[in-house]
């Protein structure tokens, strides 16, 4: 499965009400879906469990859009030993 689909599936798990089809990957996620800090933490928790990438709090600010997150994950995974 491509990374994008995997990440979207995890988002759907955390927030089942979200209509994935209507998401613009280049707009800030929080402006489009009603997710709070606990949802976001759960989302990152699932990313850590399934993709093995640990996103530290200090990087949250740079991950506003889903595309930011996808690029971040690509880089982290590519650079992992």
């Amino acid at each position: 499965m491509v990374l994008k689909d995997e990440v979207l599936n995890l988002l759907q798990e955390v927030a089942p009400e979200v209509d994935l089809g209507s998401l613009d990957l280049n707009l800030p996620l929080r402006d489009q879906v009603d997710i709070d800090s606990m949802d976001f933490l759960n989302f990152l928790g699932r990313i850590y469990e399934t993709l093995g990438v640990n996103v530290p709090e200090s990087d949250y600010a740079s991950l506003r859009c889903l595309n930011d997150l996808l690029q971040y994950l690509e880089k982290k995974r590519g650079g992992a030993p």
Partner: protein, 380 residues
């Protein structure tokens, strides 16, 4: 209607109830129905807990004790009178008082004005006042019952939504009607607490990290040990201390509505445990699986609306609790340190409290205790 589901209790054992009080919400195929008490008394025993199970009409839900009598006749059941349509559940669930044909309906002047304002048919109003007289409350109930459901097609999700909306409406109407509120607020510097938490989170994977709400909950719980008169219930004209420090945590649903189930004995739990339990509560509020006791036994409520981007929230108390603490968002506030104005992260705490049960002086001590606890995050 031949069966229903018990959605929630609005009273607990030992509560005194008056004729006309809404004590529970039952969901039927068509709508959510308030179960009302038909006589004054005390809730002796709750026999059925809210669940997904279908209950046949006639099921005894609770036993009521009359004033000064030992016998506890079965007092409420799944209401037998089925609402004909989804439009007036509260009224339909109430038994008709005997009326003499041709006699002019007894109605209070205020009730008449209100009914006419909403063009209600006076003859169809059921009265709960003396000799079956229609009083203002009856009219308000009829208006409330009529408005939201009118014309809505029934579906499972909408029934649930409606049931939750009505449960909130019943509790908040009672709260607003009965509780003389006072409000206190204070700005709490959060730099120390947040820096401490960020350092703690740094080397941990997401599922072991804290959110600041866990710190707020623990600080409130420890503060309540110092001012216990905010932790408990106002019942029978007197304050009764809670059996433990059980914080109701207001959790909103994305599709609307909210619930405030309890995390028990928060003062005795460490931050990781409080965080894990808060996450579990949010999951169950949104995904199902809440236990009835979690909804009925909070001894105080905490709401954190920070995510919505507002600085303050002035909450309404969930009766019979006597206080609710509301937190706004964390923001950069101009604070004065050593004579200089500096920008520091801070949060505003607002206490809404029941003036029947406690006073502003103690309320101020409560807020100050929360503030003090948050300046020593390592001790939380």
């Amino acid at each position: 209607m031949d069966k229903g589901k018990l959605v929630s209790w609005l009273v607990k054992e030992g509560d005194r109830v008056k004729k006309g009080d809404v004590i529970a919400v039952v969901e039927t195929q068509k709508s959510a129905v308030d179960v009302e008490v038909w006589q004054d008394g005390t809730v002796e025993k709750i026999l059925v807990q809210p669940s997904e199970a279908d209950l046949p009409v006639g099921t005894v839900l609770a036993l009521l004790g009359g004033d000064g009598e030992a016998a506890a006749p079965p007092a409420e059941a799944v209401p037998k009178k089925a609402p004909a349509a989804a439009t007036r559940p509260a009224v339909a669930a109430r038994p008709l008082p005997p009326t003499v044909p041709g006699e002019r309906a007894k109605i209070s002047p205020a009730a008449r004005r209100r009914a006419e304002e909403f063009r209600l048919d006076l003859a169809k109003l059921r009265g709960s006042g003396p000799e079956g007289a229609v009083v203002l409350e009856d009219v308000e109930a009829a208006i409330a019952a009529q408005t939201p459901a009118a014309g809505l097609p029934a579906s499972g999700a909408q029934d649930k939504q409606l049931a939750m909306r009505r449960a909130i409406a019943a509790a908040m109407e009672k709260s607003h009607r009965e509780i003389p509120l006072y409000f206190l607020e204070t700005l709490i510097p959060m730099e120390r607490a947040l820096s401490w938490m960020e350092a703690r989170n740094r080397d941990r994977p997401p599922n072991e990290r804290l959110l600041y709400v866990a710190l707020l909950l623990k600080a409130v719980a420890l503060a309540l040990r110092e001012v216990p008169e905010f932790n408990g219930y106002y019942l029978n004209g007197a304050f009764q201390p809670g059996p433990g420090i059980h914080l109701g945590v207001a959790v909103s649903l994305r599709e609307g509505g909210l619930q405030a189930p309890a995390i028990h004995d928060v003062d005795q739990k460490d931050l990781s445990r409080i965080m894990a339990e808060a996450q579990g509560l949010v999951k169950r509020v949104r995904g199902g699986g809440l236990k009835g006791s979690e909804l009925t036994d909070p001894t105080i409520t905490v709401t954190s609306l920070g995510e919505e981007g507002v600085e303050k929230v002035f909450g309404l108390i969930y009766p019979p609790q006597v206080a609710i603490v509301g937190f706004g968002k964390v923001y950069q506030a101009p604070l004065v340190e050593e004579g200089q104005v500096v920008a520091r992260r801070a949060i505003t705490a607002v206490l809404s409290a029941d003036h029947r049960a406690n006073d502003g002086h103690r309320g101020a001590l409560f807020l100050k205790a929360i503030q003090r606890r948050l300046q020593e995050p390592e001790k939380l």
